[in-house]
Symmetry: D4
Subunit: 255 residues, 8 copies
């Protein structure tokens, strides 16, 4: 579409309909819609594979509703994260088709038919307190058409609970590992599988976790190979990256 | 092989050759070879897809040579990182087939025929000073049979240098982005492509880079989706993870 | 005025009206008015080009009103930052001429005729959540008679949104770049223009932004030359510095 | 020149010499020369007002010489920072016109006639140990044609030493303030003048200066308005930014 | 009193009233009264020159009242810091003689006749927001019989405001300097006087003050000699130390 | 029990009741009960000597009640920490046998007859504000059948208060030392005794305690030998570890 | 011995040989020998169970030799840690009975007959690079008469290597776990055993290990109960504490 | 002298020898001698009680010698700190009267007759490794005419060693406490005396001392009142401040 537009422009120029100044100027522009306070980028779905997520923190309920509405007009699926209870309610009221998850604090609205991925993304979480982040990852992956499987409350202090699922873990294409405290789960899972592991540190923990810093540093220093890391509590980033990785398996780039 | 061994053991037990105590005991053991100071894990290649890397920092030249030798006996390819000049020389002397890269500070020895991957892993680096880390990533990916392409010295201060390669970047299956200072390159590349981006912060920079902390935090906070992060200066981890990701594209798990 | 006063004092001394002890004592004094809890420095407008801003955080509503009143008596424009909603309302009630911006959390009262600057100060912001800080910078620059232009929601994850404005950015005399998360926008803008860039990190971001530390460090480590940095969320400092810089262009010091 | 090239390209296209595919392709490219390990960007002088500086840290002597040579070919002035003694000597040997400053650790080669700026950039330094950074700022500003004045060893513990220069400081267009330890000099100078102050923290200090962190944080938190900050020990960034600011005063953008 | 008790004990032993085991046991004990949750140490006034302060943070109103009551029984003056509004009210109700300062958040009850010190302790504060800490220092010094003088709102951005008080500052025996943001005031005052300066960093400031860390590090790195530092926001510690220092001037140890 | 189950399984296999595939599969499983959101591990009491504690922070009241109920079904004692007032009340209502300590914020329910340990665990706390953490340690040790003795408000500023208890401290088998601020108490106690000391830093303190970091670092750097450290405010970990250590004294492993 | 001396003193006093002043004075003194630069505390063996270790870092070879000599005169075993190669050689030369371990960098000299403990202290280490710290712990425990067993190179990335030793680990009375990088080994071991685990973080690791901080924080946040932590790289502290703990098992305090 | 000069100037003005412009100009100047790279401030001795110390770190041997020479010309005593061995030797060669202390790394040259203070400054140090810092404090205090007493190797792990000196410590007017590791000594000494205590953290310690940060934070958080803190390893600052404090006792300001 982008290249087509450019060629059409060049044809207009060739036909003498527009001059070269106009062409130079046009070449700099790309499609985005201006809401005044936020540019919604419909083009992004084409360029990057998925619309921008709506990050609700620091926005008003009205801003969230306005962006959701604009995004819906683009025709794709909508995902909003870090929604407050009030945002969840207001969105459900305005858009009854919205799927609002209070654990994950996400809003999703499907406008395109789901095409579930053949391989699976496993979401592994250490403890009960890590569930909001794990669920944010799961919701994100699913709205991006990923088949998911979940393994919750399998922290390393009871390593047998994790090992009981070794085969299922090894069957996944990509694994998201969510853990707070010392974040050791990422290293242990990374040592069990030969697939990419995305580690998500959470801010769960006593004093010296320093808001997730302990788990973050641990995961960055993982002795297991194949582990990459996203920001503290950022389940969305993990789910999104997992979807990009798994798509390699079933939607390879045409050679 | 592992499961076979277990079943053979059970047959011995059924045949009365061994008692149940012996079976219980055996079930706990897995194959690894004990060098006294380091257990070389031949089994890992089967479990995780690639032998453990030899991390040379903090080891003596003699220890490195001994581990390389043990590893060669396992029959797979060998990769050693963070080798000193002395280690590079000593290894080359002892094992003439070794490929020693002084920029990347790596030693590689191929024992298995290369089977270059169909898709490519792009290695993108911001500045000249980031080359050792970028090269460590490249060497790692290549010994794991990845086809690579490199884009060096394309830092964001001259964004046109990067944009000139947009199409080639978009053609890669996985991208490794190496940058020190403010680490902004990862976000910009992440916004250009719809494939997984692995960001590697480097310790390159003036005072307040704090040994790479600035770039690390920047990459973890990337506003671009699809970016995951490895440890500061850890080109190996990036190359290894990139290989795992790209393998999804051409070596999908049998359903 | 200051020098004049001193010379008048010396004349009184020469005339024998005062003795040398009195002169020595007087020479130490400079004009400021004592409110008991805060010394309002009318003299500052002469010495530094603009009255002190009223920093409302940690003050009571009553203290703010009292300082505004004292400042109005000085005859210059008034600017207060970090005002709470209650302060905005109370000030509007007491001083109907006050311009209260709830996004920027600023109060401004014009007492001097505006003289808009010939060159412009561009305010560039990465995301919707960065608006309060960007607006604080804009309000500050404008009360200091700067002509401003704004470019909001042009974060680097969609680099085309920024590049679409390249020419306008290059037309500004000074640029203020406001960004949270990884703060990469400052480096990219810095690479596009040949004018001073003032980077303002914001505290917007997930866990490992550590209250804006990630963006702050990124901006300090910018690979683009010409970028200087102010404190986290300190839109006022950016707007003020931008005004000082742009004044060089149209109000050069007499030789 | 850039726009001209584009128009010439469009004329070729209009003339039928090239097809639209070729135009699209060409529009993505910008001039830079590939040295293999570092892309030298001659174009930058036009876009950003000065060639990229050569940051010598982490480069070999040979790499530095090669980049200097390539840069000289571009015809502009050359500046290299953080040069080791060996680099200084080797450059002086190869390029006798080079001006090598061992205090500032800089290499400069003038190829263009100097056109000294009408206004001055003042370089203010707190102590003797801050001189290398202050001199790096001075050398940078001067190779960019700035007239400079220096005020060294005027730390705040003897405030009279600084105040003795108040008038000269107030006569400068832009001020660079270099200080380690508690970095208080920036605030005091900022309170004395009504021009932009660029603060440079240095790593000079006892234990809890933490490599310049104390001065950096102090400067970012300056209670004086008009102070912006660059990275620890980054005299180059300060000198460069000062030049950009002062250019506003004598080389205003044509309206 | 302590030594007397010991000698009396030895006399009892000599007289055969107690045996040696009893003496050994007794020698270990020192007088303190047990409230169950807090041991009130009346003896401390003798050993250290002033009763323990009551640190109210983390205590209940009831605990505070109980400790105040026990302390009053000891006969000395009472000082409580970090009191909540509720504690201030409840204490005033129960003990009408209490002096409750809502700015300093202190409670003081005088039971001993004041004996004002001959020399003075100067309390110097940078800004209006630093007043609570400055006042805590003042109240503490005064309950310890110090004559105080206060210099508020004399931050370094308007250095003339401070210099106008040079002579008065130089007349003090000890100076407490309270400042947030960049904490530069301590260095400037330290350079003006030849008496001990106690610096108190406050948590006042924008983002990168990191809760007072910026001012703390600045003060520890003061280039002025004679400056010692107490904890962030710890006006009590400063006032207490100032009293100990000034007592040296008028209550020297008998030789 | 575990080994028995395995042997029984092997007997079933030997008897031909199950095939080898089934055995391999079974050997991976271990007993735990799935509540959906949290796996309760009854087996842990056997493997590790005590059931998992219920960490209430970040859980809902309902989740806590459900886990308590499931845990009670396991037959052992129950311990929950970091309970809110609402949780304490709700648990007491539902399970009248529950012992709810509002200082320690713990819930304990005894289902097994207490068998008080012969040796004692001493709990030593520096100040009144450290009591919640000290009490959490005490409650934890007691539900694990430890005999405890407490020494509260014996901070090092009045060293005689601590020394008065020297003999009693030396009589304990294990000592838990709880202190905030500078955490010096751990070193002093560590120097007085020849038994293991477990140090617990608390988040009590003024600004630069940084939420307990000061005490944590101090304790890790203790100059006294025999001191080990747990997380900030983690009284549970200290009490649990103390119990494990003291058990060595009276319940030695059979040789 | 101490108490005896006191009683003898009291007898002298009762006999009138000394006066009460002399007794009071004497009661304050305790036996230590003054070397001028270091007080060697023979008494400590009695009070704390083992002589002070000689911490060699920051001492000269001569100082080390002098302290070793003084310590030998006390009759107990001698342990010195952090010895340089030169110290190891010089000590071996002067005291041929010294046992110098170059991996652990320790010097030990036995003067008392070994009495090996009945229970064992297990030393578990994650990787080859952790050996110096693990060996320091082992040497320390052994000079304190502990029976040790070692499990080296059992990091969590290959969890089966560790699990193969589960029974032996469970047979130990106390476990010392040494790990750098993410320090996950401590949590996994802590989940396998019901005995005290002492975790030792090491400074082994890539960039963001920040000199062992990552492992330290991870261990402090361990989700496994029963884990206490010592300082980074402090094998001595771990070995010493392990000895104190295991002594509880075989040398209980007389009731 | 300063005031006299000013009055003489006013007399010249009154006599018509100079005009008012000249007076205004002169009033800004204060005496200092310009060495080109460092302004030596003879005036400071009058204003602040002691000449500036020469901080040798980061200076060349030649610079140190030149500053020493200039300082000697001022007639006062000279103190240089942080001297390298080469500086010590070179200074001794050039100025045979110099007193060079290799432990303290100081150079002192007396030009004024010593007038030992009546009260004493006690220097207390925790361990042998803290001696360089303690000695720097002692040398500083003594060149400022203080009588000192030293108490070395009295760390809190053997509290009896410190308590044995309680009376001598209580006899001092001011106490400097030098300690690394956990820095607990400052709190314990602070609790024993009723005089000002200056705490000096040192960088002595294992990993998590983080270059003295642990001791610094501990001392800032001291639970003992009357403790103020100087920078890590800054013995000079402690000695200097101690001298200022003790001077209050014998050289009170004339009323």
């Amino acid at each position: 579409m982008d290249e087509k537009e450019v060629k059409r422009l060049l044809e207009s120029f060739q036909a003498g309909d527009v001059d070269s100044d106009h062409v130079v100027q046009k070449l700099r522009s790309l499609p985005f819609e201006d809401l005044g306070f936020a540019k919604v980028d419909h083009h992004r779905a084409i360029r990057c594979g998925f619309p921008e997520v709506i990050y609700c923190a620091g926005k008003t309920v009205e801003q969230v509703l306005a962006i959701v509405e604009a995004r819906l007009g683009g025709g794709g699926n909508v995902l909003a994260t870090r929604a407050t209870d009030e945002m969840l309610r207001a969105t459900k009221d305005r858009f009854p088709a919205a799927d609002c998850c209070s654990t994950a604090r996400t809003i999703t609205i499907r406008q395109r038919e789901p095409e579930p991925s053949p391989g699976t993304v496993a979401i592994v979480a250490a403890g009960t307190s890590d569930l909001p982040v794990a669920e944010e990852a799961r919701v994100t992956a699913e709205i991006m058409d990923q088949t998911t499987s979940t393994f919750y409350d399998v922290g390393v202090a009871g390593i047998h609970r994790l090992l009981a699922h070794s085969e299922e873990l090894q069957a996944a294409n990509v694994l998201v590992v969510v853990a707070g405290m010392e974040g050791a789960l990422a290293s242990v899972v990374g040592g069990l599988v030969d697939r990419p592991v995305i580690a998500v540190p959470t801010s769960v923990g006593y004093g010296a976790s320093f808001g997730g810093l302990a788990a973050l540093l641990a995961m960055l220093n993982s002795c297991a190979s194949g582990v990459t890391v996203v920001n503290i509590d950022n389940g969305f980033a993990a789910g999104y990256s997992a979807a990009l990785m798994n798509r390699l398996a079933y939607s390879p780039r045409p050679e």
